[in-house]
């Protein structure tokens, strides 16, 4: 079976997402050490996106074996009703997932602690969202070490805290 067949025949689950996030993060660290900064930042953003999605889906009842695709339609409609100004950007927007997590948890009676909400908005909505966009994969971009270090530090925070974002 080819890699393509394997992927097509096994829809990705929440568990896959969590493992893939860790894999992308470790690959990003290798690239950072080798000074391949743009590739590292791209992978760091993907890892952040996956940890945020996992926190959202687990917060709202998904199990580890739940297919990810089944969660996306409900998230899109929820945000369309509650925060229509925030674009999902084909489900890659870090702001979309952070705000979905914060706002839906608040509205469903399981709010994040005020301090956690503040840190999440600081690291993701106010910084990572501006510092990363999935489209960088199609661009020839050079980034400063300052930029990559800031992204790295923000993603390290998510990596450390993501399990507490859904418990």
């Amino acid at each position: 079976m080819t890699l393509r067949d394997n992927i097509l025949n096994s829809p990705e689950t929440i568990s896959d997402l969590a493992w893939a996030a860790e894999q992308r993060f470790r690959e990003a660290e290798v690239l950072m050490d080798a000074r391949h900064i743009t590739g590292a930042v791209y992978l760091l953003g993907l890892a952040a996106e996956m940890w945020l999605k996992t926190a959202c889906f687990r917060s709202f009842g998904a199990g580890l074996s739940t297919p990810i695709a089944t969660q996306l339609g409900p998230a899109r409609v929820w945000m369309r009703q509650q925060a229509p100004a925030i674009d999902a950007e084909s489900y890659h927007s870090l702001q979309f997932w952070a705000e979905y997590l914060i706002q839906k948890r608040a509205l469903t009676g399981i709010p994040l602690a005020t301090e956690v909400t503040g840190r999440l908005r600081h690291h993701v909505t106010h910084r990572l969202f501006a510092d990363w966009k999935v489209d960088i994969r199609y661009r020839l971009i050079s980034m400063s070490e300052l930029h990559s270090n800031r992204v790295y530090n923000d993603v390290v925070w998510i990596r450390r805290e993501w399990t507490s974002l859904w418990r």
Binding site: A69, T70, R76, Q81
Partner: protein, 104 residues
Amino acid sequence: MPVREFKRELPLEYGTLVDGVVAEWRSPQSTNSEPVILTERRRDGKIEHVYVIWSKWDKIERVQRSEAVMDAVEKVLLADEVLNVTIAMGLTPDEADRLGLKWR
């Protein structure tokens, strides 16, 4: 020949699929074999999972199936009921069988 703008992000049949789910949902006495709509409720009785089993999903990507099911949900349920739905899944009959759903 005039130049016309061509813009398409969703499959041509997307709207038809949404309408098909809505029509079936609104026809509880329907004798159609498909689509089959399964709803799963929380303890408080509110719908939280929606599964639509339909052969017509075959060529549609999984994310678009979820979006189509939710667009149908939005047309059938009240706005605040829509917000409770956390899983929207479109499956072909074979996929539903593989998943072990008891739908037949």
